[in-house]
Subunit: 784 residues, 2 copies
């Protein structure tokens, strides 16, 4: 856990002023660079020491066996796991034959800066070797947003004191040693050396190329590098390629003050189909384009791309510099994870680490895509297009489960289910409604009719069909969905999970509407008016259990009759509970890992009265232990909605600082994209009170005491809005696009050329006392 | 599946008149011999061909890793699996250097007979080698009921035509090749060669000894053999021992009509603690005792032991020779599985095969022990003493699960949980109430006060404590047991399973009564009057859900609101369902693998009115697919109780012929002890209408049309009763012990020196139409 202030608080960058080797692995995740296609962990240039080496290409995975102590029908036999591909960011330095290694000699200074506007990671080191060879090293690294296949590093060494021999070794290295955390020897074997060499062409004529393929999944990965070298006369360059290593060696002698500068361009490509020669040429071509632009050009394009993003997406949080930094850091990582997806998934950790095996989950649709939909909509479309591309697999999965329509996987890279524990995997069918929710949100926000026809409609139809196969009418005519798992992973396989049922209802209604708008296309999908009628009927009859005695919604039918978890007997070190208690124990008691019914109140707020929201929120606050990073942001939104602003503010802090403060102690495995998205959600949907749908964007803003002004940008139906909230009023500005009607506290108003300012009504005093489980209280946020 | 009539129908034996190699593995199970300590599959003397070689010692197991695709807290990391120990039944024959192998040459005759009164397996073969060496071979094998550590074989070869050279090789062989059915290479590796040689002493001075130990579980296994040889002059004997083989070779020349006769005595011992020399001496001593008695003596003692058993336990079924044979076959296997347990478990397959890894389950307490309790009570006491001996492990397991008292394992050999799938393993807590039920049944039947104090009370107290930790009172004061799995494995992790709740209620009440009777001993166990009061209170408030709308009990809360399984769409080849449908699919629908609520109506008949029984039985008949061998017998009992006598008769046939006709196609893995016990239960509790408890034995006899007379013996409270039922009357005879009061159709009557005959009232006409799921109809039984 990052307990000391590893990073300084600055509005537009994340700066580490000293190297802390004890949190090296965490900083590798925080400083990871990516464009959604290539991901480079923030490993030191020289490769060692490292927490976890990491170079990823979106969707390059290896298959690994999934073993079971007792097999069952339909269990996936193999899973996918992200592969650490050829490392192109490696530049080793030797000073008078001594390798530059921060663990030896004297590190006078060491600084790393992630610049959120430049899109670069810069490192400055001042080091003396054990034999007192003193150098300054400066490197700047980027993964290009504008050249999808390209990354680049500018590396400079300066001799500080006397003249010295300096050697740089710039490498491509495949099959690096990666620590494997599991206990399955077969999986470890798979991951030990996943890449089989096909070609290693040394950089004799300037460009080095290595082509590998994965052993079982048969994916071909190509990497190439070339260099621009600027050093004193007599600088010699050599190249060699052997086995899994390609190396360019630059040797020179630097007088004091003299510098050796190397720019390394490297490119990647992968394919399940294209041949070795085709992949070879592809990466060479990418390098050619990058060299044409040059280092300065790449940096300029990078900044330009980010300028445009920030112009629309920036969030300004006045009064809380930590949250200010964190929300920009989060938006930056969301953009990194999605900018150049092009029909690939957004994994839970993006491309910043190997956590969760590199899998994508429902968090993408429910936490990440809403942010992208209103800040960088093309990325949301890309991620949903990926889901659409996996529809045949999901349809096959549904058939295997005895269902109809599509059953999307709980966790996956290539679209096939990888969950090895079905009660918290395949049974979590809500992922299908979550995808539908992301589709309708995107279509509502963009009015992208072509997307709706080609991508949205097939997804909505297939998921609506699933709900009709999963549910049934009982004798009282209620439409029940039994034996499924909702978002809360401390309950499983329950009847009529309120979240699932309400999201399925939304899914069914959205499918009916989409079919009505695109009936010709729907007919091609085999939809008849009769089928659409069954969807309407199931949605209308959807059963939402309610506990009359307590006056709250049970999370699932019967939930409120279960025993309460004994929080008083639970010790602080027994959290997260799932590491210290059996699922058996957790499932049968009232204890909630993460917002479930509370998430339903956010996403299906229309299905609850304000009084129900207040009572339900109070009830579930007392049960929710937040053992998941997907919880705090949703609790923030509902806390704000029911008037618990200071509580909401505490939750905002948790969501926003998840990775910068390593709150869940697993940032080592990659950043928590959903929680980073959650910080934006807590601000915009929480304090901004923003809800959108059915062509209308509504706001009910109200700030907690620590934030003096909150300003954020939103893209909606071709407009760019900027909303600025103070404790007493809110100003709505239309920066781009034609006038539109907004809603402020239930009152509609038009906004066009001129900003509109509306007062914020006095906050009502919440009636219910809110408390969290003993020992899991929300920490109030006190910005300095 | 044994589709042809593999066995002839005879009252006291199971005879195979021709060798059918296609069902060799099944016949090895049927012809297995055991005394509960040693188990020998019915492998051919010469070892090959075989379906599965098998020599077992009760509780000799190896540990094997249990792998998980996704790990969870409290999952067992390793399981136990029964080991094929040193094979002592091997006797190879060579005729003129040609090995006797039924696959070669000409097998003129081949007969095997399991004699249920002699307790022997006899084989007669008449064979010509490919070079026309013609011999007759007769072997008789027994596993001694009177000498726990001893088995013996008498083997005779007779030259039929011309004079020929005959060689016998009598062996002990360890680490035979055993086919492994799973897909875990690590488990396969464990089982490939499980025994590590410690000592191999050849039979230079008459006795050969081999000592091995298991690799991971560190159990020491000793085997010894010695021989009596009777052959023509010039017969030579040699002995050698090398590696995992010990061999005694007997070579002779037989003229036509001459015989070579060999009696092989072999003995076994195992220990987790005793030293190699101690084990060596132990098996030598066992042989000495056996030789003293001699072959004829062993055979005489065997018959005497069985005579005594049959005198009390025999069941006579007039009118149905198949069932007659099957019920005796079943009783014989029950005795074989339990006669010499001495503090060891009764596995689901006894010691007849490696099915279920050799594990013991709840079937022992609920199906096997009731039969033993009324026919051979010492064996029931032994099995429960084993449970008692594992109490410390079960208490530790309870602590691990966050509970109190004892949580007995779902499947085990040594007392530790081996279930690799908790929803159908650790969550099936009813096993604890099942143990308590067996305890109270045994104590009621034997009035064994010492057992109750020393063994019963600790078991009842520990299990009662478990139910108090598992359940809780809800706001209405009902005592709920949530999130557990009942007997039906097509539902799991449900709230208030009626079977579990009623059995837990029984358990709690039994604990209160036992504590009252033995308060001094209970105090030593820490029981206070306060604690006993909580048990009484929980039992009194136990929640038994009821569906008022349908007028039936839901198997678990909410069960009757689930969708009905689509039987019409299920193809015959899709049974058993668990091999063709996901647990997810099965759990959420109304489909029942095996009697669950129906079993509750049998074991807790007092908790249901006759009308409820009739309605519940009809309801669950329509949902029960009998994919488990534990179902038909219970359905038979309730069918008889509600007046569906012909249906009960059909189910009796299924239970009784499970192994003789290989109905579930897995007799290859061992016999189905619980189903064999179930045949007795169907006859005695079904057609005899026998229920016992609270010191009273009650009968409501009524026969189906195919059975003309049913007679069975029962041991109860020191008496031996014999009950003989005809279509019109029942005669009760007291063969041993003082007079007692019985109940016939609710009317009490004394029975003493003279038989009492009572008329059977006219059968009421059942009102409800009973049907089974489409395609899973009960086959009516039509005895020829």
């Amino acid at each position: 856990m990052i307990q000391h202030p590893a990073f300084t608080v600055e509005p537009w960058s994340v700066r580490e002023c000293r190297l802390h080797l004890d949190v090296l692995a965490q900083t590798e995740s925080v400083f990871a660079l990516s464009n959604g296609h290539i991901g480079l962990r923030g490993n030191l240039d020289e490769g060692e020491p490292y927490g976890q080496p990491g170079t990823y290409l979106n969707s390059v995975y290896e298959l690994r066996p999934l073993p079971y102590a007792e097999a069952g029908y339909g269990y996936p036999g193999s899973g996918q796991t992200v592969v650490n591909v050829t490392n192109g960011k490696l530049i080793r330095l030797l000073v008078n034959d001594e390798p530059f290694d921060v663990r030896y000699g004297t590190l006078h200074e060491h600084e790393r800066v992630l610049d959120l506007r430049a899109g670069t990671l810069t490192r400055r080191a001042h080091w003396s070797s054990p034999t007192r060879g003193e150098v300054r090293v400066t490197s700047t690294r980027l993964v290009s947003f504008t050249h999808r296949a390209v990354a680049a590093i500018q590396y400079e060494v300066e001799a500080v004191d006397r003249s010295k021999g300096v050697v740089l070794q710039s490498e491509l290295v495949a099959n690096e040693t990666v620590a494997y955390a599991g206990d399955d020897p077969r999986a470890a074997a798979v991951l030990e050396s996943p890449l089989v060499l096909e070609e290693n062409v040394p950089a004799k004529d300037g460009v080095a190329i290595m082509v590998h393929s994965t052993r079982a999944s048969r994916l071909r990965v190509a990497a190439a590098m070339c260099h621009e070298i600027d050093g004193p006369e007599g600088t010699r360059v050599e190249a060699e390629g052997l086995g899994d290593v390609s190396r360019v060696t630059v040797a020179t002698r630097l007088k004091p003050g003299q510098r050796l500068r190397l720019v390394k361009f490297f490119s990647y490509g992968w394919s399940a189909q294209r041949s070795r020669p085709a992949m070879h040429d592809q990466v060479v071509a990418a390098l050619a384009a990058a060299r044409l632009v040059g280092w300065e050009g790449l940096c300029a394009e990078q900044r330009e791309f980010l300028d445009e993003f920030w112009a629309g997406a920036d969030v300004v949080v006045e009064g809380d510099p930590e949250v200010q930094q964190a929300v920009r850091f989060g938006l930056f990582h969301l953009l990194q994870a999605s900018a150049r997806l092009e029909n690939r998934p957004i994994p839970g950790k993006g491309l910043t680490g190997s956590g969760y095996d590199g899998h994508a989950f429902w968090d993408t649709e429910i936490f990440v895509l809403p942010v992208l939909t209103y800040t960088h909509p093309p990325a949301a479309a890309d991620a949903l297009s990926w889901r659409k591309s996996t529809l045949p697999i999901a349809e096959e999965h549904a058939v295997q489960l005895g269902l109809r329509g599509a059953a999307f996987p709980w966790r996956t890279i290539n679209g096939e289910e990888c969950s090895g524990y079905w009660p918290a995997g395949a049974a979590a069918f809500h992922v299908n409604a979550d995808i539908a929710d992301a589709v309708t949100r995107y279509v509502d926000a963009t009015q992208d009719t072509r997307f709706e026809r080609d991508t949205g409609l097939p997804l909505l139809v297939a998921t609506a069909r699933l709900w009709c196969a999963l549910g049934h009418h009982d004798a009282e005519g209620r439409y029940r969905i039994d034996g499924v798992t909702g978002p809360d992973e401390y309950s499983a396989v329950a009847d009529n999970n309120v979240y699932t049922n309400l999201m399925a209802q939304h899914n069914l209604r959205a499918a009916v509407e989409a079919v009505t708008r695109h009936f010709d296309r729907a007919q091609q999908l085999g939809v008849t008016p009769e089928e659409a009628a069954t969807w309407r009927d199931a949605a209308a009859a959807m059963f939402v259990p309610y506990d009359e005695r307590l006056g709250v919604h049970p999370q699932s039918e019967g939930f409120t009759e279960h025993a309460l978890w004994d929080f008083a007997a639970t010790k602080p070190e027994q959290y997260p509970l799932l590491l210290h208690f059996a699922y058996f124990d957790l499932y049968r008691k009232q204890v909630v890992k993460q917002a479930d019914l509370v998430l339903a109140m956010y996403l299906r707020g229309d299905a609850f009265t304000p009084e129900e929201k207040a009572r339900d929120f109070a009830y579930y606050e007392a049960l929710t232990v937040r053992d998941s990073s997907l919880s705090a942001c949703t609790q923030a939104v509902l806390a704000a909605e029911v008037g618990q602003l200071e509580l909401a503010y505490g939750y905002l802090g948790e969501a926003a600082l998840m990775d910068l403060e390593d709150l869940e102690k697993n940032t080592v495995d990659g950043v928590h994209l959903a929680s980073l998205a959650g910080a934006w959600i807590a601000l915009v949907a929480g304090f901004g009170g923003m809800r959108a749908g059915q062509g209308r964007m509504r706001f009910s803003p109200r700030l907690p005491s620590g934030i003096t002004r909150l300003t954020f940008g939103l893209r909606y139906q071709g407009r760019l809005l900027r909303v600025s909230i103070t404790p007493t009023s809110t100003t709505y500005r239309l920066l781009e696009g034609p006038p539109l009607t907004l809603t402020h506290y239930g009152q509609e108003f038009p906004v066009g050329g001129k900003p509109v300012t509306r007062p914020i009504p006095k906050a009502p005093v919440p009636e219910l006392r809110i408390r969290q489980p003993l020992g899991r209280e929300a920490a109030p946020r006190r910005p300095d």
